[in-house]
């Protein structure tokens, strides 16, 4: 199977994906959750709900509701600026007057400092992970063009995941929260996980036949690992899809993010990482390996 013949196609495909991601991020930006921006999320169960009344109660307390989402079953999610606990008590009292049967489901209020911290920490974690993975792969394959390719493929996946959430955010109201950060970091490892298996095969084939041409080598390695790659991704995709569809609202977007990450990771090991290795090999003078 001459998969590497498709390299121009991969290049175009990845470029389109990256551009779409870039433009979605620029035009639609993100739907940042209070984890990043600071603010309050208050989920309530309100029988005999009236949006007008709720808004009135808030404006009486000098608060503006930024967003009201219906969660189904008379459950509503309200978003507004971060407030102190006395203010919350006032709101609870006035809500109780108007909706005697209302129940609190979830309340979270985050100051803006914590939000900035999360962003900082996410970036640190991504840089740290990339650095460690780069060093590990570089060492393991004794060739840093492998390390660099794996890391670039990983950034490709990460960027598409972030871009996809600009799209999901715009059309379906998906939020970037601390769980998204976790999914992002997991994507880093899932992406590299898949790439490493194919790299391993290249190393093994190269050992058996030192003179073999790089393109031929890549083709053979991809062909031999393709089945495994697809089957493995299938099992993870099955697990995550069932979570997306059946897992309830709390983790729907978390599982979706992981799903996008895993699918990207499977594609990028063949479509990005290996073409990059071939590119590096073609342009480096020394064809040294192992």
């Amino acid at each position: 199977m001459n998969v590497m013949k498709l390299r121009p196609f991969f290049l175009v495909f990845s470029t389109i994906l990256l551009l779409v991601s870039l433009f979605s991020i620029i035009f639609w930006k993100f739907n940042l959750s209070i984890d990043f921006t600071g603010g309050t999320t208050w989920n309530l169960n309100i029988p005999k709900y009236s949006e007008e009344k709720v808004k009135q109660i808030f404006s009486k307390n000098n608060l503006e509701i930024k967003e009201i989402n219906s969660l189904g079953d008379q459950n509503y999610s309200l978003k507004f600026a971060d407030i102190n606990i006395t203010k919350k008590n006032d709101l609870t009292l006035s809500l109780k007057e108007n909706f005697p049967d209302f129940k609190e489901l979830k309340y979270e209020s985050i100051g803006p400092v914590l939000g900035r911290e999360l962003l900082q920490k996410t970036i640190t974690a991504v840089i740290l992970s990339s650095l460690f993975l780069f060093l590990f792969i570089g060492r393991r394959f004794r060739d840093f063009s492998f390390g660099a390719s794996a890391i670039l493929a990983m950034f490709h996946d990460t960027f598409i995941l972030i871009g996809s959430f600009a799209i999901f955010g715009h059309f379906f109201g998906a939020e970037l929260d601390s769980l998204f950060v976790t999914a992002l970091l997991t994507t880093l490892s899932a992406s590299v996980h898949d790439t490493v298996v194919t790299f391993d095969r290249i190393r093994e084939l190269k050992r058996q036949n030192y003179k073999i041409d790089w393109v031929q080598l890549a083709n053979q390695a991809v062909t031999e690992t393709l089945n495994r790659s697809i089957n493995n991704s299938m099992t993870i995709i099955i697990m995550l899809t069932s979570l997306v569809l059946l897992g309830g609202s709390t983790t729907k977007w978390f599982a979706t993010a992981l799903l996008v990450g895993v699918i990207c990771g499977t594609y990028s090991s063949t479509g990005v990482a290996i073409p990059l290795v071939l590119f590096f090999k073609k342009h480096s003078k020394k064809n040294k390996f192992i």
Partner: protein, 457 residues
């Protein structure tokens, strides 16, 4: 053949281990009813408790699964700690004492399984308090967050003290004896052994004891007023000079008012001021709902994965599925034994790691197909498939473990996240990978050696 013997020994060890895990994971009470014609058998099985003596050491462990706040419901409060008033060498003691006092305060109100943690964020300190089951967040905040100042004053002018309406009058009527909340180690409600009346006991630290001894000498037969945030709590008369730092206030207390006063006294005794920055609360119904949905999704996914493996790899797939079930049992047992507190992201980590655990098997089986295609007999092919797949399994999983550790942040680096949600995910992911390698490689290999005989795939 010794090799065969060894394989069987390992096989029975695996069977034994699986049975132990099965017992650990059975429900607390399992009623069994068997009706077969005339035969009737009824017996309730109980999960054995871990409670035995090992030499002189008593081993006791609660192996119930622990659920985090997002699943069990409850409140979580994050406070900023103001450390500006304490020098850096005294800071560790002050922080430790703060933590102890908060824990004590919560315990007084009878909330169980709370966690109180102090995190360092760059140069700032934060106090995190998790209260499972406490749904009234206002009550929780009052319980912990009262940043009251407790002060002791000697009363010099009794009449003025009684009638004082302004703070200026009050200041004239008393003398500050330099004793405050930071000197108070503990206050509790007790019963006087002589007249069995409720009273409130006070215990001061070393410095406090000295000041208090001096004050009781100076104000013997006079009153000492105790103020919380400028409000007079009580002003008992000093009956004797107290030198050892332990005093008790008696009077017209009932057991409730004695308890309230001691709680208030403890409340004022925080060595460092704290301010609430992030309250959050999750209702128990919401938690239970997410848990049930998560488990349902996991079970459906697992069944589909098992079917997928059988469809793709036939009897090998079946063995891999058995390995997967053993994987699940070992993982759950470890959650109980370590114990791992399950959060929703944790469950997702577990579900994700199931997918990864199957990966080892897929790698091996694909190798196996290749090797048999080359014309090797099954036994040879099996051994070389395991050998060759091992390199890939090792490298690929190392990458996941690297990110897993960065997420878990075991050294509590302040520039990385210490959030419970993210950690919960990392813990189950890391555990899942190690157990997955164990069952995917070691367990299935031995199962295959025992069950798979010569026959073409």
């Amino acid at each position: 053949m010794t090799n065969r013997k060894k394989t069987f020994r390992i096989f029975w060890t695996i069977v034994g281990m699986t049975l132990i895990c099965l017992v650990l994971n059975m429900p607390k009470k399992l009623p069994v009813n068997i009706h077969l014609g005339k035969f009737n058998w009824q017996h309730d099985f109980y999960r054995p408790e871990i409670n035995f003596k090992l030499g002189s050491k008593e081993v006791k462990k609660n192996i119930d699964l622990k659920y985090g706040l997002d699943l069990a419901g409850g409140s979580s409060l994050l406070f900023d700690i103001d450390t500006s008033s304490v020098s850096s060498e005294n800071l560790p003691t002050a922080l430790e004492s703060l933590k102890l006092k908060i824990e004590r305060r919560i315990n007084l109100f009878g909330v169980s399984e709370t966690t109180v943690k102090i995190n360092k964020q760059q140069d700032k300190y934060r106090l995190q308090v998790d209260l499972p089951g406490v749904e009234d967040i206002n009550n929780a905040i009052e319980l912990i967050g009262t940043t009251a100042q407790l002060n002791f004053y000697g009363v010099i002018d009794d009449n003025l003290f009684e009638t004082a309406t302004s703070s200026a009058d009050f200041q004239k009527s008393v003398k500050d004896i330099g004793l405050n909340g930071s000197h108070l180690r503990l206050s509790s409600a007790t019963i006087n052994p002589n007249d069995s009346q409720p009273e409130v006991s006070l215990e001061f630290n070393e410095e406090g004891a000295k000041i208090f001894a001096q004050a009781t000498k100076e104000f013997l037969s006079k009153r000492i007023a105790i103020l919380l945030d400028g409000q007079i709590l009580t002003a008992p008369v000093v009956n004797s000079v107290i030198t050892e730092g332990k005093a008790s206030i008696s009077g017209s207390f009932d057991s409730q008012s004695a308890k309230n006063l001691s709680v208030q006294l403890n409340a004022g005794a925080l060595p460092l001021p704290i301010t609430l920055i992030q309250p959050s609360q999750i209702g128990a119904t919401l938690g239970k709902d997410s848990l049930n949905k998560g488990i349902f999704a996991g079970v459906v996914g697992l069944i589909l994965v098992c079917l997928f493996m059988i469809a793709n790899y036939g009897r090998f797939g079946l063995i891999a599925d058995i390995g997967l079930i053993i994987y699940g049992l070992i993982t759950l047992s470890l959650y109980r034994l370590i114990p791992v507190t399950l959060t929703f992201p944790g469950i997702v980590g577990f579900i994700l790691s199931i997918g990864m655990a199957v990966d080892s098997n897929i790698l091996i089986f694909e190798r196996l197909k290749e090797e048999t295609r080359k014309g090797k007999d099954l036994k040879m092919a099996l051994e070389s498939a395991f050998g060759r797949a091992w390199d890939s399994i090792k490298d690929a999983n190392t990458c996941t473990i690297i990110t897993g550790f960065i997420l878990f942040n075991p050294l509590n680096w302040s520039f990385l996240s210490t959030s419970g949600m993210i950690r919960g995910f990392a813990v189950t992911l890391i555990l899942g990978i190690f157990i997955g390698i164990f069952t995917g490689v070691f367990v299935t290999r031995n199962l295959l050696r025992v069950f798979i005989r010569e026959k073409k795939i």
